[in-house]
């Protein structure tokens, strides 16, 4: 066997950074964690559904039978669950979450959302991935069903954690496209600036992660290919 290359033993700074970022993304979004989060969101929706149904049952029991079958009613429940989950993910502080809930919804809705935000924060604080693309439909048996996807991006405090843990001179700003961020914030009202910033940063991180995956795959392929 030939002498091992020194280069392989000492990865370059760029390689170290790349690996660190890759590890971090993998750590945050392992398949197991995503499966768990999927279960958690389903529990979240089921308890939300019962909560609202019980409210209607207490106020106007005769209305519930019709409501329960309505796709639009089901859709609004799933939509509010998504909203509550996402606000809870986006804001660490309950006060900030409360401000957003009340700024973006009418008071009755906001109150409902706040209850669910507390529930999310109490029971699933570690689930820091946004829900997106919820879709409701009636299946062939007439049952109401829904589907959803995750926004696989690192959330704000995830980034803080990443930067704080990093002992190299890694700076996330070096990796982000500031012009694109500025453009994404153009014309956004101040109360939505943070959400818009998070969204754009998350989008860029997702892109970066895909590039890293590709690079690592290429490296792996190069390593496994026989030396000429």
């Amino acid at each position: 066997m030939g002498k091992k290359s020194n280069r392989k033993n000492k990865p370059s700074k760029a390689e170290k950074r790349r690996q660190k970022m890759f590890d971090y993304s993998n750590l945050s979004f392992s398949e197991k964690h995503l499966d768990e989060m999927r279960d958690h969101f389903e529990i979240f929706v089921s308890s939300f559904w019962t909560y609202i149904s019980n409210q209607i049952k207490q106020e106007t029991p005769e209305k519930l039978k019709d409501k329960e079958k309505e796709l639009s009613f089901f859709d609004s429940i799933v939509y509010l669950a998504e909203e509550a989950w996402n606000i809870a993910v986006m804001y660490n502080s309950l006060d900030d979450a409360c401000d957003t809930a009340y700024n973006t919804h009418d008071p009755d809705e906001a109150e409902i959302i706040m209850g669910m935000i507390r529930y999310k924060k109490e029971q699933y604080p570690q689930d820091k991935v946004l829900i997106r693309d919820t879709e409701t439909q009636r299946d062939e048996n007439g049952e109401l069903t829904y589907s959803f996807d995750f926004d696989y991006s690192v959330m704000d405090d995830g980034l803080d954690e990443f930067e704080a843990e990093d002992d190299d001179d890694f700076n996330l700003d070096d990796w982000l496209d500031q012009k694109a961020i500025d453009k994404a914030l153009e014309g956004i009202p101040p109360e939505f600036q943070k959400a818009a910033y998070d969204h754009e940063v998350n989008r860029q991180i997702k892109e970066l992660r895909e590039k890293i995956d590709l690079l690592l795959q290429e490296e792996k392929n190069n390593e496994s290919s026989p030396e000429s």
Partner: protein
């Protein structure tokens, strides 16, 4: 293999409704929380059920 499903009922003490919250557990994992009149009920029952599951999961202590 058939999944093992069980249901636990917890009476919430979070408000005056004191609702009975049903928590469905499949293969040791919570899969649904129902019967709550408010989010507090759901949260309470989830916590109680998690505690119960953790207790059942913990290995018997050696003498």
């Amino acid at each position: 293999m058939k999944a093992m499903t069980e249901e636990h009922v917890f009476q919430c003490t979070g408000c005056e409704s004191e609702c009975d919250v049903h928590v469905r557990v499949q293969d040791g994992k919570i899969v649904a929380v129902e019967g709550n009149d408010c989010p507090t009920g759901a949260s309470y029952a989830t916590s109680q059920c998690k505690m119960l599951l953790n207790k059942n999961d913990s290995p018997a202590k050696a003498k």
